[in-house]
Symmetry: C2
Subunit: 211 residues, 2 copies
């Protein structure tokens, strides 16, 4: 069985998204500043069907976090800006060929039929909680890892429930000052630092959650 | 003129001290967990007149942050657990030969005569604010650096006022869940990552504050 992993860009003051998420600000106000290091990188661009970009130590990290993922779980607020009943026209932020290429399970309180996208991505909407979602993701992933993609609330829930094996943080030298904090209310986790990679712009630290 | 620097151990959720500081818990409840990496280290032990300890990449960082400091500024809550009028019997946490060996300026709202300690440490109590304290510390430091030793509130004030040049964080894989957060309310700082050192236990990241 694979691991349950999570990798996120985080501001130096602990936010993984800015405040006031909307269709104009998918990651909240200022949240895109957390991802500039990746957007200009050759690895990220290749993963998103784009050419060019720089290769540096960040590229190896971006390759590493892509590899070995058999299924993805995300919170509804990562899938879209809507709340409450579904707007059935909303099919995610990523167009018809999302960059996941594996089954994606979306945590929601509102039922919806699955979506079959191009390139191997499917979106399944799970309404019975984080543990059933993980069970379905594990079945879909087989021997591969399950990635908890975000947002903060989904990751916090898996951390607090003791269901996460690895947390890989990309620590960006940005102060957001407000937004969604990753590590509030997760309890007294025991973490072990297992890997550090630094580029000029970002420090990547992988933690193992000790059980 | 030297730089104005700060180096602090910080939990992964952004705290530099736990809650409820007292004479039993000088760094708040759980706060000592942020410093275990240093206490067992040969460099820290030597700086505090102790023998033994391990030498590893943390030692180089501990040597680096000791060198070149000509004066220190700290908040009153770092100097002691008391509040309000001074208990004149309180001469700091560190005994008669504190590990500073330079002039130390303590930010306080309550006047007190200077203390001359052994080993070159003096404690001067500054009641007219962070800028006069920095001016006095710069004069005392000459060409050397001024270190803002803590606690969180003192560092936040220097950061928010644009008076800090370098922030060296020792990021410890501990979740404190409560206490004194370093980076709340400091405004939208521009930081540049200038150095990363990793040991098995801690990730040290030095940031330059861009003006």
């Amino acid at each position: 069985m694979g691991l349950v992993t999570c990798q996120l860009s985080i501001s130096l003051d602990g936010y993984v998204a800015g405040p006031n998420q909307s269709s104009e600000d998918p990651i909240g106000e200022g949240g895109m500043r957390l991802h500039q290091w990746a957007l200009a990188n050759a690895s990220w661009r290749e993963q998103h069907g784009l050419q060019g970009g720089e290769r540096n130590p960040d590229s190896d990290v971006l390759d590493e976090v892509r590899d070995g993922i058999g299924a993805v779980i995300m919170g509804r607020n990562m899938f879209g800006p809507g709340r409450g009943d579904w707007d059935e026209g909303w099919r995610g932020w990523w167009g018809e060929d999302p960059p996941y290429h594996v089954p994606v399970f979306v945590l929601t309180h509102h039922e919806r039929e699955p979506l079959q996208m191009q390139g191997g991505t499917t979106f399944d909407f799970v309404t019975d909680g984080i543990e059933p979602a993980l069970q379905r993701a594990r079945e879909a992933a087989g021997e591969l890892d399950v990635s908890i993609a975000g947002g903060a609330s989904a990751v916090r829930q898996y951390l607090a429930a003791g269901l996460l094996d690895e947390l890989y943080l990309h620590i960006v030298p940005v102060i957001l000052g407000a937004g969604e904090r990753l590590l509030d209310g997760v309890g007294d986790l025991e973490l072990e630092q297992v890997k550090v990679v630094a580029s000029d712009a970002v420090t990547h630290v992988k933690y193992r959650v000790v059980r």
